[in-house]
């Protein structure tokens, strides 16, 4: 089985390196095909491992030593257990589809080869992240996906906004990574190892403050990757990257790494329920906060990005409240329908010649039926309507919140569900139905190539049916993760489900009703609420005003004032003092022998005085 493990892990690397050989050349179709094939191989290996783990239990290999110094030993070790194999399957499945999709999407791009190289490198990093058996290995993947995300967001580097967004994403993640590193250091000095199993084994012996500190530090890391408030701004800006990237990295896989980390450290967070509750509260806040921003945005991809943010909040609620398997389940279903949504959006963008403003679309249903259906399916799934995937996972999260007695969180999520339904269908309505606004701009949309649509079908299918796998899934992952029992009476439960479904359906209905009639009147855009939301609560502005500019000013001050005017000037001043003493005392050297002799006598007297003062006492 080890061979399958290595295949699953290194096939993406092989793909990336192979394609990188042609990175600087113009488009070569076979690079895309080879990359897709290798990723598919990785996917097949992952599925084999899934079956294997199901039958024989987890697999643990240690490939080689990496760092060793003092007491510290970090190996390259990989573990394929119930959690990581689910992640592997999800990641490789979505990746394969995105690879195939990209062959069509990037068709006309001159950096076609480079794109596949980066994309495969991302898959490799993600695989390391989920498969590693220790925290530092996870950190490798963690930073690796960060790097690939930087490369891919800034893929069209000639665009200023793209490279800016790439840098923003990287730097924001770095801030969080520092928190995570601190957590790792603390783990090392308390346990003496970075291995998951050793760490979990010694959890019992550690006092709760220490555990809470570790938990908080690790969660800071997770906040960065999963774009939780206040480190969330990068995710929306990351939409500058090519759409397949948004689908793979910024919806399905990388951003869920934070959730994965919390799930992985479930044993830790179970012991510190207070921290868990804080995580859940933040998650609920973000769920509502992001959904509200999605309500008014007009950028096709940004809406989906905010929705991702909001769904990540849901996952954190589940994970924070201890329902790890539910978080993982939502992570998986979300990966399917959200990537589908993004890829569909990619088709729309292609059709619209990279136009992103949904106000300029409308009525696309006529020319792109397949995409419209797929996106609608994904939106329904996202809204959480029975029997689509989102219903099962999202509803469970709401139940968890209710079960924990966190009624406030439940209420937030409940409202969030309504908002989700509304903005999803606002998007669908504005893009696919209503007036054909695009005609004003002289655009002739066309459906994507057939193979692209076929590639999306599995995702569409999964978005519909994966919800029914709930019990199988639960049985499988709870071998490793903690069981979570929901103790709500059946009547209440049914009521809850009905309420959730109700609010989701009414959200959809409201959206359909409003946008059938041409949407909200223009005057709404003048309102404070609208402005607040469309400016993302002015948070990016605040960051620019109160962090970036002061930093820039401080940096300039440090350089031009402190470094050159104080530190360096002091040094130069000392040198100048020496010079000027020389300059002044050169008058002594008049060239006149008499004067020199006098100086000599002065010196002699000085020496004599010294000799007299320090004469040996008898």
């Amino acid at each position: 089985m080890e061979n399958y493990l290595y295949t699953a892990l290194f096939a993406p690397l092989a793909s990336s390196l192979f394609v990188a050989l042609f990175a600087a050349r113009p488009k070569m179709l076979f690079t895309g095909i080879v990359a897709s094939l290798l990723i598919a191989i990785s996917m097949i290996a992952s599925f084999v491992l899934l079956i294997d783990v199901n039958t024989y239990g987890p697999l643990h290999v240690s490939m080689m030593d990496w760092i060793s110094a003092g007491n510290l030993e970090i190996p390259f070790g990989f573990v394929v257990d119930e959690v990581s194999v689910i992640m592997m399957v999800t990641v490789t499945l979505v990746s394969t589809i995105v690879h195939i999709y990209s062959i069509g999407y990037m068709d006309h791009d001159k950096s076609f080869n480079r794109f596949f190289s980066y994309l495969s490198a991302f898959v490799f990093s993600m695989m390391i992240l989920v498969m590693s058996d220790n925290f530092v290995g996870l950190f490798i993947g963690w930073e690796g996906v960060g790097l690939c995300s930087w490369l891919l967001i800034g893929f069209w580097y000639h665009k200023h906004s793209a490279s800016w967004a790439a840098n923003e994403a990287f730097i924001m993640n770095r801030i969080a990574d520092l928190g995570m590193l601190m957590g790792l250091f603390l783990i090392y000095w308390s346990v003496g190892s970075f291995q998951y199993d050793e760490f979990f084994a010694s959890l019992k012996t550690m006092d709760s403050t220490l555990l809470a500190t570790i938990g908080l530090f690790l969660f800071i890391g997770a906040m960065g990757k999963s774009a939780q408030f206040p480190l969330h701004t990068w995710l929306a800006d990351a939409m500058e990257g090519p759409t397949p990237v948004s689908a793979l990295i910024h919806a399905a896989t990388m951003v869920t790494a934070g959730v994965y980390l919390v799930i992985r450290c479930g044993e830790l967070y179970t012991l510190i329920p207070d921290v868990g509750f804080a995580i859940a509260s933040l998650g609920a806040f973000v769920a509502l906060f992001a959904a509200s921003m999605a309500l008014v945005n007009n950028d096709l991809k940004r809406i989906i990005a905010y929705s991702t943010l909001s769904q990540l909040g849901y996952m954190f609620v589940a994970a924070g409240l201890g329902a790890y398997w539910i978080a993982l389940f939502h992570l998986m279903t979300h990966a399917f329908f959200k990537s589908l949504l993004f890829l569909g959006a990619g088709n729309v963008m292609h059709a619209m010649h990279d136009e992103l403003n949904i106000k300029k679309m409308g009525g696309l249903y006529g020319s792109m039926k397949a995409t419209a259906i797929l996106m609608s399916v994904a939106s329904v799934a996202l809204a959480g309507i029975y029997p689509f995937a989102g219903f099962f996972s999202k509803d469970k999260i709401l139940e968890v919140a209710f079960n924990e007695g966190a009624y406030f969180l439940w209420f937030a999520l409940f409202i969030g569900a309504g908002l989700t339904a509304f903005y999803s269908f606002r998007l669908v309505m504005l893009v696919f139905f209503g007036e054909k606004e695009y005609e004003k701009y002289g655009i002739h949309p066309h459906e994507a190539q057939p193979f692209v649509i076929y590639a999306l079908l599995p995702l569409g299918l999964l978005a519909i049916v994966s919800g029914f796998l709930e019990h199988t899934f639960e049985g499988f992952v709870t071998r490793l993760l903690a069981q979570y029992e929901i103790h709500i009476e059946h009547g209440t439960e049914a009521l809850l489900i009905a309420a959730t479904l109700g609010i989701a359906l009414s959200g959809i209905a409201f959206a359909v009703y409003m946008y059938r009639r041409g949407g909200f009147p223009k005057s709404w855009e003048e309102r404070f609420c609208y402005k607040l939301l469309s400016n993302q609560y002015y948070i990016p502005k605040l960051y620019e005003l109160y962090i970036m500019r002061p930093f820039s000013a401080l940096a300039n001050f440090a350089w031009q004032k402190i470094d050159t005017k104080v530190v360096d000037l002091t040094v130069d001043l000392i040198a100048k003092m020496v010079y000027s003493t020389g300059e002044k005392s050169r008058k002594m050297q008049s060239g006149n022998l008499s004067d020199m002799l006098r100086w000599m006598v002065v010196g002699m007297i000085g020496l004599l005085i010294l000799a007299f003062v320090y004469r040996p006492m008898v």
Partner: protein, 100 residues
Amino acid sequence: MITLTHYFILTGILFSIGLVGVMRRTNLLMLFFSTEILLNAINVGFVAVSKYYNDLSGQLFAFFIIAVAASEVAVGLGLLILWYKRNGSVDLNSLQMMKG
């Protein structure tokens, strides 16, 4: 009784006379004379110490000093003559080329 201290005081007086000469005179020849005084003053000191401690080293030092003085005069006078021939003066104030 004449003690070593007497000799030291004498040496000191003679030495300071020499120093006065060295600093005061600007005629190079006079400067040479003054250095001779300095050397002689020290010689007296050496010989006195030699006597009072009953050690010949002092006398030998004085002896070598005399040798040095002799060579100094030989070379110094040669240079002095050379300078006089070129400049027509042996005044120190005409020698200021080492100005810093």
